[in-house]
Symmetry: C2
Subunit: 120 residues, 2 copies
Amino acid sequence: MVEISSDVIRGYNDTMILSILMKEPSYGYEISKQIKSISDGKYIIKETTLYSAFTRMEKNGYIESFVADPDPEGNGKKRTYYRPTEQGKAYYSEKCAEWELTKEVVERFINNKENGYGDN
Amino acid sequence: MVEISSDVIRGYNDTMILSILMKEPSYGYEISKQIKSISDGKYIIKETTLYSAFTRMEKNGYIESFVADPDPEGNGKKRTYYRPTEQGKAYYSEKCAEWELTKEVVERFINNKENGYGDN
DNA sequence: CAGATGTAGTACGACAGTCGTAGTACGACA
DNA sequence: TGTCGTACTACGACTGTCGTACTACATCTG
């Protein structure tokens, strides 16, 4: 299977994480599993990358954290959940717009069928 | 105008450079102008980024360089031209395939209209 | 003819984001 | 009791990009 290297997707880690948090607050382990399943296993984010993204985005004011129990009865180990701030939502919208633009521009290079693959 | 940040496109610099070199051998200054014009000024690659990409790709065997005069009469300052190697062409094809995949995967996150932008 | 602008780079250190490795700690299951 | 899964944290290495600065030749302008 073709997999996505972190080098090509690195610019979208924060955006992908935010897109998951836009639906509902979540935590590290769950998000990593979601990224894997949404991408059909084609992209697996490293734990260290994910947790350092949390730290960075919280510092930048895009997300905020809270500690909560996994179930309402208070059983199980507490987890650190994250949710987007208003600023984070705005940032997400910007990144979505930037994605549309990036996609268009990259395709002007990539899908250039007159490239002359065969000659030379 | 919305511009593309280097963080989001950084995974595609090498591929964009290669796509230009697939058409015909070229050199730094010319490539930077082409990237600017093809992207309608939405992405301007920094000189240092471009030249360090040349060094890296040549070291990795994806491109090879040769020095030539700007015109057949031998006038003007000599330039360092680059052309893709066979390995570089194969690498370019791989990156094109990876782009298709990345695009599809990123869109699963980005274009998620059921994201609930409004709630919460 | 001098000086500005354009062309075509090189050098170098800083910085950010990712990664590999390792370790902690709790709970569930067998 | 031990292994597996969950849920992290710490730390140093590495890579690619960037800011700044500098060189050098050519061409254009006053």
